[in-house]
């Protein structure tokens, strides 16, 4: 149907009509979205809403990586998973939910942990990466991988009653290492499984991650690059602050950066951050 200047089928026009009606999004934004591919790393608290909204809005190819299985204590925040999937793969569960919402897009399942040995191969298949993981070594590994492959990275985090969001390695902007060249001491690191999180807090951040990924994919709006969003749920306060640009000294993306694919595959991110890629068992003493 090139005579109408777009490739949308009548079914697509009906399904996405409310987005097509938007003057600032429209047929061009939707076409860009349908041609794009997005990888969501982590099908947990952040990944749940991010995957649902990315599937619903019509991303052409949607990938998900996670090695975990669904547990009952995930369900208070990981709304993509139902009780029927307890004990089964999170990716299997999330893929089924995305397909039930939108059977017309391509959904790719990666039922494995993202590691230095497979990250380059998996990430290279997608245009945009959404970091929805829950630990420090993954965040450095994913950022380095995106720098090596030139992929924009939509990074979200949530803990307790607070959340953070930024777009890295986009359009000359900073990467995660530009901001955080040195990992924090391990005593300062906490993850949801250790410290708790109110379920809807990753919900808000995960939705905002989907939004930023949609903006990058559809070429609509100003992505949150060079800026960071800080969310405090308790007081209902949100700050959007200006952060530094790309650092010329950055070991990943700077002028004299020496990071290579070969080095990446042998880099020990757990040792670098002194923190494990998988979560420790929960210590909860209420009974």
């Amino acid at each position: 149907s090139s005579e109408f200047g777009h490739d949308l089928t009548p079914d697509m026009i009906y399904r996405y009509s409310r987005q097509l009606l938007l003057p600032s999004f429209g047929v061009q934004g939707q076409s860009n979205l349908l041609k794009s591919s997005i990888l969501v790393i982590g099908a947990g608290g952040l990944g749940s809403p991010a995957l649902l909204y990315l599937a619903a809005c019509g991303v052409g190819r949607l990938g998900m990586v996670d090695h975990d299985v669904v547990e009952l204590n995930n369900l208070h925040r990981q709304i993509i998973h139902g009780e029927a999937y307890i004990g089964r793969s999170k990716v299997e569960s999330a893929a089924a939910a995305c397909r039930s919402i939108n059977s017309t897009i391509e959904i790719m399942e990666h039922r494995e942990a993202l590691r230095t040995s497979n990250a380059l191969e998996i990430v290279s298949k997608y245009d945009i990466v959404v970091d929805a993981t829950d630990n420090a070594p993954s965040r450095y590994m994913i950022s380095d991988c995106c720098v090596l492959l030139g992929k924009p990275l939509v990074s979200g985090a949530a803990l307790g009653l607070e959340g953070q969001l930024a777009v890295y390695n986009y359009n000359g902007g900073p990467c995660y290492r530009c901001l955080f060249p040195t990992p924090p001491p391990t005593t300062a690191c906490q993850r949801c499984s250790d410290s708790g999180v109110l379920g809807v807090v990753p919900g808000v951040i995960g939705c905002l991650q989907a939004l930023e990924a949609i903006k990058v994919a559809s070429l609509v709006g100003e992505p949150l690059s060079g800026r960071m969003l800080l969310f405090d749920a308790l007081s209902a306060r949100i700050r959007i602050v200006k952060i530094r640009g790309r650092s010329s000294q950055c070991e990943a993306c700077g002028e004299n950066a020496t990071l290579t694919r070969e080095e990446f595959q042998h880099f020990d991110y757990e040792k670098f951050t002194q923190s494990p890629l998988s979560a420790a068992p929960l210590k909860l003493k209420l009974l």
Binding site: G42, G44, G45, L46, G47, A132, T133, D134, N135, A136, R139, G156, A157, A158, L159, G160, E162, G163, Q164, L179, F180, P181, T182, P183, P184, P185, T187, A188, C189, Q190, R191, C192, S195, V197, P202, M228, L230, D232, L234, S235, R237, R239, I240, V241, K242, I243, R244
Partner: protein
């Protein structure tokens, strides 16, 4: 010159990490009065950090600082701008400036 400056401090995501109990009950903005060293003309971030260390941090200073600057993983914002853009420790402060400390989160 000013003998004391009123500075607004806001702590994000550092609450549970301990060491900043005085500021830690909420992310509301706290107003503090910082005395300027007598020989100095201007209050800088370097002075402010030294002041925070001796006046606000009761225990485990390593959760907030390393040497004379903030520990890795803490971002400092002066009036909603990364202090890398204003000269880090040399950033000069004025009355009513808002300083935000954020600890990077990893959870999801």
């Amino acid at each position: 010159y000013l003998a004391s400056s009123k500075i607004l401090i806001c702590i994000f995501s550092l609450k549970c990490s301990g060491g900043l109990e005085l500021l830690c009950d909420s992310v509301k903005i706290h107003s503090i009065n910082v005395d300027l060293p007598a020989e100095e003309k201007k209050l800088t971030m370097k002075h402010l950090l030294a002041w925070v260390r001796s006046n606000l941090i009761k225990e485990r200073p390593e959760m907030f600082m390393k040497g004379d600057t903030v520990r890795p993983g803490v971002l400092v914002l002066v009036n909603d701008c990364d202090w890398e853009l204003s000269g880090q420790l040399d950033t000069t402060l004025e009355d009513k400036d808002v300083i935000v400390f954020i600890s990077t989160l990893h959870g999801g």
